[in-house]
Symmetry: C2
Subunit: 345 residues, 2 copies
DNA sequence: AGGGCTTGCTTTAACGATTAAGCAAACGGA
DNA sequence: TCCGTTTGCTTAATCGTTAAAGCAAGCCCT
């Protein structure tokens, strides 16, 4: 496409020098390479005149670096991840990196595909929001000495760089908040997943009950299959409400589960928070719009995204450095959906 | 990073032939290049053994093609665009293209930046959701003979390839739907924008009123500044409700306006649809979750994204072909927010 | 048998940039 | 004056791939 590009050679010819000199000057290596002051000025001048833009492909081929980061995200249609993507992109650009985003759609095969495509494209490193059953992919990258940072989710068994939420604590806070609001029979809806962040969310919830000396009732925990969210949430909520000790509050461990669950709660004609108090992970416009604004755990998205980029870039500079791990805290944004329980007199 | 890559040379050495032969074989040019059948087989064999992966950088440098598409989106945090991005990515991958996504955040300067970065990265072509005041950017690309397809928004004054919604008709349908539901005083909230798609949405609305012989009242139209959505929507709704002929129905011309508007309507304590019927462009989980599900104009996202990719790829194959324009229809999904007006007796 | 075609491969240049190595001219020191 | 250093530039190799051009051996045809 388009007009012929300006290359070093064009500048060299116009200046009557070799391409080497031009390269030295335009890369600020005039000192080390003993380039004459006047010719350097002339070269710079001509470069501007011709509006020279270096060819990244050639640069990359030579250097083996593409200044490109591969971002593999579990689900781009989730607004949380879409925002993370935007933040990562911005931050990367500030550091002169370009980001190639791929969505694995929570599918291990798609994730493999993406990794291979991006490796082929010679990305310098990865930021990865891992899906289920992708440990081997992470191991593979590790074994090939590819630089990467895990974001939002990590595998405790594999020593890697990562930036994640303190999911245990976030969940614990959510449980405690409801308990302090007078709710006693608190349910949790989570994904049926081996992913550590999900296990931690369950653990935090369970321990918040235990610390308040509330006996956890197995019926209060619904684990939902990723592929069958709708029906399993319905069944789960039904079961929770029909339990010996029916739940009076629900924690949703992700945004998507909350959306689905709230729809069903609407259908059932239940009122939030009188019939059922709600706290959810994630954040979304939908929560503001709900007739009763939803209490949610706010994740430090900016910080998560920025830190991931920082860690990766620092790793790219010095691949030998030991892995760094960052744990961040969520903030509970209390709203009406979890307001102090009305006394039943 | 990582182990040394396998190159054509490695295969050539192992097979005891020149790299040229290897290149011919692995590119399926054995016939034209008269490569011996047995040596071809041997080369292929070795390539598999060594797990050869071609170096895209070198290929691209040589060919001038990167098999990469730049996707510039007006706002990635908008779920509509995030979904479009995903569809474009999938479709591109099917055609062996990689997508680099950039969000211009509705900002012309950022859009310029992105275009330059991506041009420097030698993308083969662009798919662009234009922001306001970016005609000159489109003109520039045109004049440089860069291949691109406009998506969702276009500039009628510039002859380009594009794939957009029939915004006029969509808006007309929305208006007509409300009129048929018995609403007479219908307001529209739109962006204050010169972008053609927005103008068309306004035109469609106005003409739906005219065709129903309803006199359009200027107070019924609120145009909102992109940077000041919240306050201007509030002011606009206040004005519409205080008008001589207060509105009994509202059309939101984008998803984001609807979210903002509905929040305020909630605050005012108005009931949808009894106090105010609603129809909105865009689609989102939030609309399902609202206590009264929102009627919306469903856009053929799949088709939009896929067609854009198709047009672009076909343009890349033959850059000389005349521009093609595609107009798609929205479907009105009627729900409770616009149900037939209860008779006031 | 000698000229031309076919077959099967190699050589070489090129894409655009970087960089080690080389080389001539000018300069400095004793 | 002579040798060694510095200065200022060029040459050439390299990254991995492609493709035009070249070349030797074997074939056919008359």
């Amino acid at each position: 496409m388009s007009k012929k590009k300006v290359s070093l050679k064009d500048i060299a010819e116009k200046a009557g020098v070799s391409t080497a000199l031009v390269s030295y000057v335009l890369n600020g290596k005039e000192k080390e390479s003993r380039v004459g002051v006047d010719i350097a000025a002339k070269i710079r001048q001509i470069a501007i005149e011709l509006n020279y833009k270096p060819n990244y492909l050639a640069k990359s081929l030579r250097s083996g670096k593409t200044q490109t980061i591969g971002l593999i995200i579990a689900d781009i249609s989730n607004p949380f991840f879409a925002n993370i993507a935007r933040i990562v992109e911005d931050e990367a650009k500030k550091n002169d990196y370009t980001v190639i985003i791929g969505s694995s759609d929570e599918d291990a095969d798609k994730s493999w595909d993406l990794i291979n495509v991006l490796l082929n494209r010679q990305v310098d490193g990865f930021i990865i929001v891992s899906s289920e059953n992708t440990e081997e992919q992470i191991q593979y990258l590790s074994s090939r000495n590819v630089s990467f940072v895990l974001l939002d989710r990590h595998f405790p068994a594999i020593p890697t760089d990562y930036v994640v939420l303190n999911n245990y604590h976030a969940s614990y806070i959510a449980g405690t908040h409801l308990i302090e609001g007078g709710y006693r029979n608190i349910g949790l809806i989570a994904y049926r997943s081996q992913l550590f962040h999900m296990q931690e969310r369950i653990r935090g919830y369970v321990e918040s009950l235990r610390d308040a000396e509330i006996t956890f009732h197995p019926d209060w925990l619904t684990e939902v299959d990723f592929g069958r969210i709708e029906p399993e949430i319905r069944a789960g909520i039904d079961r929770m409400l029909a339990a010996d000790q029916p739940v009076d509050a629900l924690i949703f461990s992700t945004y998507r589960l909350a959306i689905s669950g709230l729809k069903y709660i609407n259908e059932l004609g239940l009122t939030v928070p009188d019939d059922l108090a709600i706290v959810s992970f994630g954040q979304a416009e939908a929560f503001d719009l709900y007739y009763c604004p939803i209490t949610y755990l706010q994740q430090p998205m900016e910080a998560l995204g920025k830190t991931a980029v920082e860690l990766l870039i620092s790793k790219l500079k010095d691949p030998e450095q030991p892995p760094r791990q960052v744990l961040m805290e969520a903030t509970l944004i209390a709203r009406n959906s979890s307001k102090v329980k009305a006394l039943v007199t």
